[in-house]
Each structure stands twice: as structure tokens, then as C-alpha cells.
Amino acid sequence: MRYAETGFNLEVDLTRGSVERVPTDPRLTAHHLGGLGTNAKLFWDRVPPEVSHFDPENLLIFGTGLLVGTPAPGCNRTVVSCISPQTRLFAFSMMGGFWGPELKHAGYDKLVVRGRSPEPVYLWIRDDRVEIREARHLKGLGSLETAEAIRQELGEPHAQVASIGLAGENRVFFASIEQGKSSASRCGVGAVMGDKNLKAVAVRGSKDVYIAKPAEFLEMCNEALAFIKVRAKSPIPGVMPILAGLGSPQEMAIHDEKWHTENFAWGNARVRRKGFWTKDVAEQWTGTMETMRTRLLSCHNCPMKCGAAISVDTRLCSYMMKCFSKLTYTMGAFSDLDFGLRIAQKATEHGVDAFSAPQTMAFALELLEAGILTDADFPGMPADNEGRFYWLLDRIVRREGIGDVLADGTYWAAQRIGKGAEAFAHNNIKKTEQLPLKLGMLNPIYFLMYCTGEKANITQIEGNYPQAPFATREEREAFVKDWPQVPDERFKEWFVEWELRGEKSIPQYPPPDATCEIVNWQEKMHYVDDATGMCAGLSSFPLKPPFHIHILPKLISSASGLDLDETGLNQVTKRNRTLVRANNLRRGLTREDEKPPEDHWKNRFPELEKQLLDEYYRFKGWNLDGVPTRETLAELDLGYVTEDLVKRGILKDEGAGVTP
């Protein structure tokens, strides 16, 4: 009997058209839990670095977290993994929604897709019955249109469908996989799905998911729900409203956008507009949101309402959105919210990442302005600002003309364009577009997170520690009074001492040793969530969440029956994190790649930065090249990784015990 998990993966080979239900090894669950952890293990075992992103041998894995499909609130996440066309590294893009729990109830922990179908197809998974179905008639349809068409032709209104739009079909490097109100957007997972000629995966499940210790487990779920109710009534003072509560940033519910519009950068992530948020703008944008937002929405079994149904025409819902995609198109185009919500509808149907797409379009227009691209590159482009963005989006998702170049994202497009275009692709880490944010003083915590986060997205590593100190000591003392989520008391001390200005302020404070601990804690919580399928919004992302390091081991063990305490969970998490890094190291990741976006901070400190990175690598048990040492790998039972990395010359055989 397997608990929390089903114990089976569904393996589909699209080249051969074969489908197989494969039992999994319970020891892997004990070692990696599930989700990202077991995805990383499958990649290590089956996708060597010789396989590149658009090879049929690249796997596309939809891996549900270990607790997905159990009653644990917010456990609904699916980790989509493949080799990314953008970063050329191991990608783990995630989606919430309803698809993952449905797959669990159909009897599978993961869907593992390999090969490439000669014709467009979609998968229909109905419990034990799995069909590879012809999808020629769905070619060119939008992602939501596809889902709707499939539900109708199957006569299954409750089927959950993950699908790609034109962008995925045309292998746009930042194409997403869309699934109702959620999407796996980062790192071009939709392009790999398109490359496999897989238009969609529809799932319907009607099987049980079992719990090992029901009474204990349910009590924890009830306590979490009670905590969420209390937390809803007590937002954290001193932080911006969208971050004061639980869930992902409450962009759909809250209208005050002063912080984003004035502190984040517009256009191609360069221009800050102080004083932008006037009373008039506030009124106009509030009106737009109130008119176009028709309902706040939740993911499977989650009490938060992070998403919203948006209506752009006469329908009550044209598409669903959440979080900062509300503003990325608006700010990329220097336009207003009405435009942003309208073009996002098209972008969602086409299936593109809402960070990368607007920045890539703004980048193209900057290159035009700079004379690196010319009018001849944009034949037929309308003259009006908004019209240009619609035109560019259309060219990109069809890979027509300049769109074919831009479809590779800013990094690769700049390489293809040359003539100094590289300097305009300035807002990337590991070749992928970041939040449009330009700041003054280097923050040591964020420096390390930007450098070493292998998700290549800051929101997937930051979270539980406040982004900045509160102005007064009294406020900081009040904050730490009720903070059981921290690993230990030192984290509270560091925060109480942290000042806005003076000796104990950034970049020198927190000192490197504390910075390492803070970064490690925040990243660790994301890796726990990525293995369990818990939404970051109830755990690793907000301040003072219901689920944390002192609660999660018991939640996981009572659900799964695994013998797991805090030490054990820390060990599993470290193992998963190290295995992700190992996958990337043998794909060519080096210390050279670990840096923040070029001009993220105006004030930089090369010596301090070097010291921070050195210390963090050491803290993680890595050598100065960022490669895990033999001791670290041995301690994590990853001897097979040592062997491979030594053979490839990545882990230099300096003899055991040599730690830099």
C-alpha cells in the first residue's frame, strides 16, 4: 500500500505511440519525496548532457508533488521539467490549478513524455484508459480554446486540460503550458511540448488517494485552516498590502499599485517612474479592474483567492490571471491597465510567459530606436504604441519575420542580431528574463539569491524573510515576537538588528554568515514545497505562513507514512537541491553564470560579492567552482553523482577532504 502517492508513473513514448503504467521504487520517495526531487532524479538517470532541448530524447515530465491530491490545503502543484531551450539547463516550471490532483486521482504521480509524434496529438487519460488522440484539428487554436474543444469532443466537461497555444506549437523559447487559471510559464516548457507535437493533456480521475495516519494528518490540516482564518484578519504591518497576507502577491484583489508602478521598471526594464501613481491613475485602474475582473478564483483545495476571472469583451470570463502578469504588459508598453488586461488575454491563448514576452517586445522596440534594428525589420507594423505590441506578439508566436528572432527571447535574439544588441538584453540571469527591477544599493541576501537560484526566478527562492528591515527597532521587535516559522532564534536577532541606514544596513548587513543562513532557509522552503506540491503561497513565499519547517515534517510523514523528522526533511531537501545543481553542472553551468542581472543594482561591491559567493558555496558544501564536494555528495548518498562528475572532469579529483 502506498500512501499520499499512487506509486505509478505514466510513461508515454510519442515516437512509438506507446503508453505504459510503470510502478515506482518507494525508496526514491524516501530519498526525494516527489515533484521536483524525483523529476531531477529521472533527468539524472535518463537525460545525459549530450541530449539537447529539442531532441526527442529530452523528457517532458509533469511531476505532481508528494502531497498533491491529499486533503492538505494548497497541495496542488505540478512541476514541469525538461531541458530548457532558453537556459539549456534543467527546467522546473510549476503550475497549480486542478490538473495535478486530477492526475493523482487517475492513478499516476507523474506523466513522463519522451520522443516526438510525427503528427499533432493530445493525450486523454481517464483512469487506467489512456489514449493518444489525433490533434490536427486543434492546430492553431489558443490554449483555452483547445481545452474547451477537447472537453466538448470527449463529452467530459470536468476533464482538466493542460495545453499549448501557437507559441508552443512554434517552439517559442518562452512558450508556456496553460491550464485554466494556472500555467507553467518559465523556461520554455511549452516549446518542448510543441516540439514533441503534443498539443494537450486531458485528465480525469476517479481513484482514491490514501493517507497513512488519517487522524493526525487531518488535525494538522484543520489547524492550518484555522491559522489561515486568523492570518486573514491580521495582515502584517509595515509591508506593502499585496505582501501583507498569505497566498501569492494579492494582485487580483488589491488595487493599490503604487509600489509596483513606481519601484519596478517600465519598458525594457529600465525606466523608473517616480510619482506615477496619481489619484487619477489610481481611479482609472481601479475602475478597469472592477469592471473587467468578474470573480476571484482559487486553485484545487485552497482557501486563498490569488487568481481572477477577467472579462475583456461581453463574456463573463475570457481568461484567468494571477499575480504580477497583471502589470507586465502594461509596464512593458508604457500603457495603462486596460491595455495590459486585454493583450494578456491574447498572450494567454497563445501561451507565452508574462515576464519574458513583454520584455522581449520592449527590447525589440528599443533596438529599433537605437538603430540596431530598422524599419525594414518591422514591415507593416502599426504606428501606435499599443498596436505595435499586438503586432509584435502576433509575429513572435507565429515566428514570422523579426518574430522568429524575438521568439528566442532577449538573450538568444541579441546573439542572433549582434551589432551590440547584447547590451539591450540586460535583465537576464542564466539567459532568461527577470522581474523588471532596478535598485540602488546591493542587498547581500538578494545578491546570493539572484546568483544561485537555479529556477532562474527570484520569486521561487525568496519569501519567508522580510525583503527589507522595518524602520524602527520597536517594529522589528514586534515582528519577531510572533515568528515560530524561523529555523532558530538567530534569525530573529539578525532581523531585530537590521537597520535601514548606518552600520547595520545593506550591503554590509546582514553579515555574510547570517546572509548564507537566511538565503539557505528561504531556498530550502521552496525546495520542500517543490517536492510536496504545496503551494508557495501557504508556505515558502509569504511572511509567517501556516506551513513551515517545524510543521511540514509531521504533515509529510502523517500523509505518506515516511519516517521523517526535521533533520530528515532538511537532508532530503539538500539532496534534491544538490541533484538539481548536479544536472546543471554537467550541462555546463559554472560559477561564471552565477550573477545578478547586469544593472540590477547601481552600487556594486566586487570584493564583498566575491566573499558572499565564496562563503555561500562553502556553506552549501560546494567547492569554489560551485561544484558539490565529494564529502557533500557522500553525505547525501549521491555517490553516483560523484562518479559522473569526476569522469566528466567537472569535479576535479583533488583528493578526499580538500574543501576550499
Binding site: G69, P71, E148, I211, A309, L316, M320
Partner: protein, 183 residues
């Protein structure tokens, strides 16, 4: 017949469809509670509450399982409320042959909401407890009802027949049928 006063406990789950966010927590916890042993598994397909959830049509409609019926209905209705069109079976509580809701997925046995009848007693049904959106709320009230003793079902049926055909015809028919049946 003499009427008498008596106290009756009325339990109501109030469903505010405008507050439903379609998270299906009600389905999850309902199926978990009714698992044996309690909470040892969950499966929304076994739930005694089902949410019709169709975001693109803006439909969010939790419905509770009611009585079993052996036959599907001949005519069905579609409701249009505030421009939203609800499917033919949307509001129906029946466990019926024409749909899969409210049946055990493996045996097809009918399911019916029992307001979480359980030992120890659960005062507020679990679906309500888990609905933090407050789309489901629970009300218990005591009503003093003046209740006339209910006529027996057979009496009511016969009276209806007599209303239509007259007592003489009904009496004749009864005598004839009783003779046939008794022979």
C-alpha cells in the same frame, strides 16, 4: 383529527454561489470524512457534494446529493440566470442513471448527503467548515410546528383516487382486485 404542537430541528446549508471560488475543498473533505476508516482516503468522485465549475461560463454551483432515483427524467430544464446558462442537471440533487455524480465510482451505489452523520457527532458539516470562502454556511434553528397527524400514505392515495372517480368506483375496484389478489 386532532393537531398537536411539537419542536422540530431544521438544519440548512445555505449556498451562496456568488461566493464560491470553485476550489472543491468541499468535495475533498466530504469524500475524506466518508472514507473508512474516516479520513483514510479521499476522492472527489465519491463526494456527496459536487461543484459544477466552468470558469469560462462563470459557473460555480455546489450541489448536494439527494435521493436515489431508478429512472432518469424525461424532460429537462435549462436555467438562465443573470446571463449564465446552467446545464440540464445542474441544480438536480438526484443520484440518477443519466450522470456519474453522486454514485460510488466503482460500484455505482447511490450516495446521499447525510450532513456528516458521524460518531462522535460533527456539529457543523465538514464541507461548511472547510469552505473559508463562506459560500457554504450552516444554520440550525428550532421551529415549533403545529402538526396534524399525517394520514397514512394509502389513505392519501385512495382519497386522491376517490376525488377523481368517486367512492363507488374505487370501492368496486378494490373489491374486484382484492378477490383476484386473494384467489
Amino acid at each position: 383529527m386532532k393537531s398537536e404542537k411539537r419542536k422540530k430541528v431544521v438544519k440548512t446549508i445555505r449556498i451562496d454561489v456568488d461566493k464560491c471560488n470553485g476550489c472543491r475543498a468541499c468535495e475533498v473533505i466530504c469524500s475524506a470524512l466518508h472514507a473508512k476508516p474516516k479520513y483514510s482516503s479521499n476522492n472527489p468522485a465519491r463526494s456527496r457534494i459536487r461543484v459544477t465549475r466552468d470558469p469560462l461560463s462563470n459557473l460555480y454551483l455546489p450541489v448536494y446529493a439527494g435521493d436515489y432515483t431508478a429512472a432518469e427524467c424525461a424532460g429537462r430544464d435549462r436555467y438562465v440566470i443573470d446571463g449564465k446558462e446552467y446545464g440540464e442537471c445542474a441544480f438536480c440533487r438526484a443520484s440518477c442513471p443519466s450522470r456519474e455524480a453522486f454514485k460510488e465510482p466503482d460500484s455505482d451505489l447511490p450516495l446521499k448527503c447525510d450532513l456528516c452523520e458521524s460518531d462522535p457527532t460533527i456539529e457543523v458539516p465538514m464541507c461548511v467548515q472547510w469552505c473559508l470562502a463562506e459560500a457554504l454556511t450552516f444554520e440550525v434553528r428550532e421551529e415549533e410546528v403545529e402538526e396534524e397527524p399525517k394520514p397514512e400514505d394509502v389513505d392519501a392515495g385512495l382519497t386522491a383516487l376517490a376525488d377523481r372517480h368517486g367512492w363507488d368506483k374505487v370501492a368496486d375496484a378494490l373489491r374486484r382486485l382484492a378477490k383476484d389478489g386473494g384467489s
